[in-house]
Subunit: 114 residues, 2 copies
Amino acid sequence: MNLENTKAQMRKGILEYCILSVLSKNEAYASELIQKLTEAELLVVEGTIYPLLTRLKNDGLLTYRWEESTGGPPRKYYMVTTLGLNFLAELKKTWAAMVASVNRVTGSEGEGRR
Amino acid sequence: MNLENTKAQMRKGILEYCILSVLSKNEAYASELIQKLTEAELLVVEGTIYPLLTRLKNDGLLTYRWEESTGGPPRKYYMVTTLGLNFLAELKKTWAAMVASVNRVTGSEGEGRR
DNA sequence: TTTGCTACTTTGTATTACATGGTACTGTTT
DNA sequence: AAACAGTACCATGTAATACAAAGTAGCAAA
């Protein structure tokens, strides 16, 4: 029962939401995504993001296209599909509801709203 | 990739926080906890909460005492230890930081603060 | 005694994040 | 040209968690 472990557990399930959200604004390839999420202090690593992107693609929420790079191997640029946009809208609601619930239960209901 | 599944994943890791938080205000037994969390629209079931309570107890964050019931079997009333309170304080910070990060990444940073 | 309710417990399963190691393409250095 | 370094993608195995499901046990009323 250490804090790092609990943090990791808390991150579970929100990555999908974050990735879809980031990609809905701009297409990006995996390394770019990792950089953006890391900048936002949401730890992610390769071993996490590649399987996740593949899963989202297999479920029809993402597509990708290959693009040559000016140095190094070609990149897979991912973008959100229409289905992905719908799912993202649902996730947004879900996230908002969950934050509200947690804040209510933990007694920080008013925070950020006064 | 269905919404219910993603919701379940989003809940991961926050239960510890919610339970510690609820118990820090009033001691309670498992069924009471389930009721409170369900009222707050945070689904929990027996199979989830009993092992979790035991884990928190084994890690020294919770203690319990038996109390006879006026009908039915005796109840285990759980309460938070000093160690648990410290951990709770950390979780509170962690949760707040994560919500801030997610909102920043998904572009809902201002929401609830206007 | 049987039935029903409450409360606690245990076992097995699905899902996820991550660590780790591996493949492949490009350009640079020797 | 050969070796190397850097970038990018991919695959496998592990740990942790939530949950379903089935089980145990106490108490009380019919």
